[in-house]
C-alpha cells in the first residue's frame, strides 16, 4: 500500500495530451465523469485536430482534454494546467509551454524514442536535456506496463497499444482519489458485446491504479473536496447533450412533436446523434442530403404542425440563409441551432469561435429579422433551447440559437431541474375561421402580432402560403407598394415586440463601477472569472451578460448609459460591440480573440485592469 501522504487542494487543472489515436478525449471524459460524481465543480475543454487520425507522433496529430475541478464553484476550464499527462513527445511539446511553473508532468516514457522526437521536432530527448527542470516529472513506461497487464489475454499489438490510455487513467484515478466504479461500469457497458476487450481494458485500468498505489513513485497523492454547490441532483453534461435534452424538454412542454432535419457537421453533429436515440419521445430525426434540404424539411414539418429544428455550424448556416428567409416570410415557428466554429470558410472546424453573430442578424436578403438567443454555459444550453423554442412557437418565427464549439464539447455539473419547474410553452392551432366566416392566415394576434397556425388536416382552414409578399390579413399575393411597407414593418415590429416578453437584463455591479464588461455566449464563465480576479485586486468592475441578442431586453440601453467605459470581449473581431454601438450609440470597446480557443481569465483581467488604469 502506498505510503505517500495525501495533500488537500482546492482546485486542480489537468490536461491529458497525446496522439489523436491515443483516446485522450475518452480518457478526459472518464476522468471528468468520476470527478463529477465525487461532487466537485468542474469545467472541461476538449481540443482536437480536424483530421480523424492525424499523423501519429506529429504536432498536427495532438489531441488534448483539459479538466478543471474544485471544491468551490468555478467558471472556466482553467487558464493553465497544474498537471500535464503526455502520452508522447508531440503531446509534450504542444502543451508543456502552458504547464504552470512547478507543475506535475506525467509521461509515457516508452514513447520517448528517437523516431518520435523526429516527428515532434525535438532535437534532443526532452526528458534528458534538462529542458523540463522546474516541473516534477514522472516517467512511466506505460506501453510496457500495459502490455504486461494483458499479456495472457490474447490481444493484438494494436489493441494493446490502444488501451494504454486506460493505464494513464488508472494512474490519475489513484493520484487524485477518484472513484473507480464509474469507469469500470462504463467499460463493461461499452464493450458488452466484446467481453474480452472489456476485461483487457479493466485489467489495464486497474494496473494503472495499482501502479500508483504500489510503485512508490509519487511523493504525494491529492484530494479535492466536493464543492459546496446548491443542493439537488446533479449530472455532468456537455453543451451539445444539454441542448439536445432541452429540445426534448421543449417538445414535451409544448405538447408538440419535434422534427429535426439536419446534416452532419462538426461540432454540431452530436445533437443529431443524441436526438436520434429518442424516437420514443415522438422525435423524428432526418439526416438530409444537405443543409438546404434539412431546413427545407423543417419548413414542411413546421407547416404541418411540428416544432421544426435544424442544427448546424457556420457553413451550414450560409446554405440555409435563403430558406430561413422563407421561414420569415411564411411566419412559421422553427429553430436554427448554430454551433459556431472557426471561420471563414472551412476554417478551423474543430475549434471554437463566436463569429456568426452578425450572420445570424443579417445573413438573408431583404428585411428578414429573426430573434437570436445565445447559450452561455454547457448546462445552460438546456434552458436556452427551451427559451428559443418558446419564442419560435409564440411568435411564429424562425429563431437562431447560438452556441459554439467550446460550449458544445465542454462539460460541467448540472443541477437537474424538475420537470415541474419547466415553463409551459404550449400553443393552440387555429381551428375556426377568423374573419367573417373565412380563414385569413395573416390576421395577427393584436398583442404578439403572431399569425394563426392552421395545420393541414383542419377542415375549412385550407390556405396557401408562399414567399411572395402577402396582403396583410388575407395572405394573398400582393404587389401593392403600401402593403409591402406595412408588412415589412409588421414583421419587424413582431420581432422587436418580443422585448416585452423576456426578462430585463441584470447587471452584476456590487460596488458601483465605472467600467462595464458586456458579453454574450460562451465567454460567460471566463468573463466571470476575470471579473472576480479584478474585484479580488480590490478594483471595481460591473458585468452584464446577455442571452437575448435580438431583440435586446428593454433596459439594456439604460444600463449601458450608466457606465463611462464599456468593454466587450468576444471571440471574433467585434461583432457584438458593433450591435451595441449602432443600437445605443455607446463607445463599446472590443476585446477580440480569434484563436480558436476560449479566452483565459487572465486575458479578461488584464484588459479590465488596463482600461481601469487608463
Amino acid at each position: 500500500m502506498s505510503t505517500a501522504p495525501v495533500k488537500e487542494l482546492d482546485r486542480v487543472v489537468i490536461r491529458f495530451a497525446g496522439d489523436s489515436g491515443d483516446g485522450m478525449q475518452l480518457t478526459g471524459n472518464r476522468f471528468t465523469d468520476a470527478t463529477a460524481i465525487l461532487g466537485n465543480d468542474l469545467s472541461t475543454l476538449p481540443n482536437f485536430p480536424a483530421e480523424i487520425r492525424a499523423p501519429v507522433g506529429t504536432l498536427a496529430g495532438v489531441s488534448s482534454f483539459q479538466v478543471h475541478f474544485s471544491d468551490h464553484d468555478i467558471l472556466t476550464p482553467g487558464d493553465a494546467p497544474n498537471v500535464l499527462v503526455a502520452m508522447n513527445p508531440a503531446g509534450l511539446k504542444a502543451n508543456v509551454k502552458e504547464l504552470v511553473h512547478g507543475g506535475i508532468l506525467i509521461v509515457n516514457s516508452d514513447a520517448f524514442t528517437q523516431g518520435n522526437f523526429d516527428k515532434a521536432g525535438y532535437a534532443t530527448d526532452p526528458l534528458e536535456d534538462g529542458s523540463l527542470e522546474g516541473f516534477t516529472v514522472y516517467k512511466i513506461p506505460m506501453s510496457a506496463l500495459t502490455a504486461g497487464a494483458v499479456k495472457d489475454m490474447g490481444l493484438g499489438k494494436k489493441q494493446v497499444d490502444q488501451s494504454k490510455n486506460m493505464f494513464a487513467l488508472g494512474v490519475m484515478t489513484w493520484l487524485f482519489h477518484r472513484p473507480i466504479e464509474p469507469t469500470l461500469d462504463f467499460i463493461s457497458k461499452k464493450f458488452a458485446k466484446k467481453p474480452e476487450v472489456a476485461a483487457a481494458n479493466i485489467a489495464v485500468y486497474k494496473a494503472g491504479f495499482n501502479f500508483g498505489e504500489t510503485a512508490e513513485m509519487f511523493v504525494s497523492s491529492y484530494r479535492v473536496k466536493p464543492a459546496k454547490m446548491p443542493p439537488g441532483r446533479y449530472r455532468n453534461v456537455t453543451g451539445n447533450q444539454a441542448l439536445a435534452w432541452g429540445l426534448i424538454a421543449a417538445s414535451v412542454q409544448a405538447k408538440l412533436p419535434l422534427f429535426l432535419g439536419s446534416y452532419p457537421i462538426t461540432p454540431a453533429s452530436d445533437i443529431l446523434h443524441t436526438l436520434s436515440n429518442y424516437k420514443h419521445f415522438g422525435i423524428r430525426t432526418f439526416q438530409a442530403e444537405d443543409e438546404i434540404a434539412a431546413i427545407g424539411s423543417v419548413v414542411g414539418a413546421a407547416f404541418a404542425g411540428h416544432i421544426g429544428v435544424t442544427t448546424t455550424s457556420g457553413p451550414g448556416v450560409d446554405l440555409k440563409a435563403e430558406t430561413i428567409g422563407l421561414g420569415v416570410s411564411l411566419e412559421l415557428p422553427m429553430l436554427i441551432v448554430d454551433v459556431q466554429r472557426g471561420g471563414p470558410s472551412t476554417g478551423l472546424p474543430t475549434k471554437t469561435e463566436q463569429s456568426d453573430l452578425l450572420l445570424a442578424m443579417f445573413g438573408r436578403h431583404g428585411e428578414a429579422p429573426v430573434p437570436i438567443v445565445a447559450a452561455y454555459a454547457p448546462a445552460q444550453c438546456f434552458h436556452a433551447a427551451i427559451e428559443a423554442v418558446r419564442i419560435a412557437i409564440k411568435y411564429r418565427t424562425p429563431v437562431f440559437l447560438l452556441t459554439d464549439g467550446f460550449l458544445a464539447n465542454g462539460s460541467e455539473p448540472w443541477l437537474i431541474p424538475t420537470v415541474d419547474s419547466l415553463p409551459d410553452i404550449s400553443t393552440t392551432f387555429a381551428t375556426e375561421p377568423n374573419h367573417e366566416g373565412e380563414f385569413w392566415p395573416f390576421l395577427r394576434d393584436p398583442e404578439t402580432l403572431a399569425r394563426p397556425w392552421a395545420i393541414p388536416g383542419t377542415p375549412g382552414l385550407e390556405h396557401r402560403v408562399g414567399g411572395l409578399e402577402k396582403a396583410d390579413g388575407t395572405g394573398n399575393i400582393s404587389y401593392d407598394p403600401d402593403n409591402h411597407e406595412k408588412m415589412t414593418h409588421l414583421r419587424a415590429a413582431k420581432i422587436a415586440g418580443i422585448a416585452k416578453d423576456i426578462p430585463l437584463a441584470e447587471v452584476d455591479d456590487p460596488d458601483g463601477a465605472d467600467l462595464l464588461v458586456v458579453g454574450w455566449g460562451s465567454t460567460w464563465g471566463t468573463i466571470g472569472a476575470g471579473v472576480r480576479r479584478v474585484r479580488k485586486n480590490g478594483r471595481k468592475v460591473a458585468r452584464l451578460h446577455l442571452m437575448h441578442l435580438n431583440p435586446f431586453p428593454l433596459n439594456v440601453g439604460e444600463i449601458l448609459s450608466r457606465y463611462t467605459k464599456i468593454l466587450v470581449p468576444e471571440m471574433n473581431m467585434g461583432q457584438f460591440s458593433k450591435m451595441l454601438r449602432y443600437e445605443f450609440l455607446v463607445d463599446a470597446k472590443s476585446l477580440s480573440k480569434v484563436k480558436g480557443l476560449p479566452f483565459l481569465a487572465a486575458d479578461i483581467e488584464a484588459k479590465i485592469m488596463e482600461m481601469l488604469d487608463e
Partner: protein, 346 residues
Amino acid sequence: MSEGNGSAVAVEVTRKDFVSDQEVRWCPGCGDYAILAAVQSLMPELGIKRENIVFVSGIGCSSRFPYYMNTYGVHSIHGRAPAVASGIAMARPDLDVWVVTGDGDGLSIGGNHMIHALRRNFNLKILLFNNQIYGLTKGQYSPTSEVGKVTYSTPLGSLDYPFNPVSLALGAEASFVARAVDMDRKYLLDILRPAAEHKGSAFIEIYQNCNVYNDGAFDLLTQKGGKANYQIRLVHGEKILFGAEKELGIIFDDGEAKIVNVADVGIEKIATHDMHREDPSLAFALSRLAHGPSSPTPMGIFRSVVRPAYDDAMKDQMDAALAKSGAGDLEKLLFGGETWEVPAAT
C-alpha cells in the same frame, strides 16, 4: 338546437371544391391550365378530404399551381419543393402530399432534392411540368432544352446535352416513373390516377407547352396524327406498338430497346411492357427510345414497383421504439444515468 344543424347531408364533392378563389395568372394559352383542370378534376375521385391534401411547389410559372388549388399549399423557394414536401410527409403520414415543379425548378436548381426524394421514396406525387424552358424568368434554356437552343442566354445556341427526366429518375431509383402531355386530359388522368394511388414517390414528367417562350415544343406528339405516330404508349402487359396501323413496335435486343417494323420481325418478337418489373433496366431501355420529343416518344407508366416509403419506414421505426421503450418520460430521462446528489447544507 337550431334547425338545419341536425341532419348530416352527404354532399357530393366536385371539381369545383378544389378550385381556390385566386385568379389564375398564367398567360392565355399556357399548357399549365390544362394540367390544373385535370388535377382539379382528379381530386374528387381520390376520396381524400380537401383538408388532408397539400400541394407544394418551388418557383416558376408552374410553381404557382398551389395557389389555385383549394387545399393546403406551400409556394416555397426555387428548387426546394421536394425538401419542403418531404418534411410534411415525414411529420404527417396522414396527409396526401403533391409536388408541382418545373424543368428548371425540379431538374436544374432542385435536381439534388429530386433524386434524393426519389431514392428515399417519400410518399410524394411529383408533377414535373416540362416546357423545356425557363418561363418565369422570360425564356432561358433549361436542362431539358435540346442542344443548340437559341434563347436570351444562349444567342448562339445552347451547348448542354439535356437530361432525359425519365432516365434520370430511373437512375435515381424511382419506384414510379411516368410521362404524359398537357393536351390530352384523358390520358393524363389515366396516369395521374395510379400515380395518386402509388405508395412512395411517383414521378410524372408532363410535357407542357409554354406558348410564349417555347411554343410548339411538343407539336410532334400533339399534332394531328401525332398521338398514333409519335407517341409510343406503354400499357402494362401489352405489346408495345404504335403507328397509325400499329405497324411499328419495340423489341429488346442485346441490352437495348429498338423500334422495328412489326412486319419485319413478327408480332411475337415484340416486347410486352412490364411496369412492375423489379429491375428498372427494362424501363430505362424504353426511356432511351427518344431523347426529347423530336422522334417517336414513349409515354405512359415506365415503372411502378413497390418499395418501402421512407416516411412509412420512419413511422414504423418510431412505433417500434415506442413499443420497446414506452412513451418517453422526461423526468426519467433527466434523472436517469450517472447522477449524484448534493445534500442540503445542514
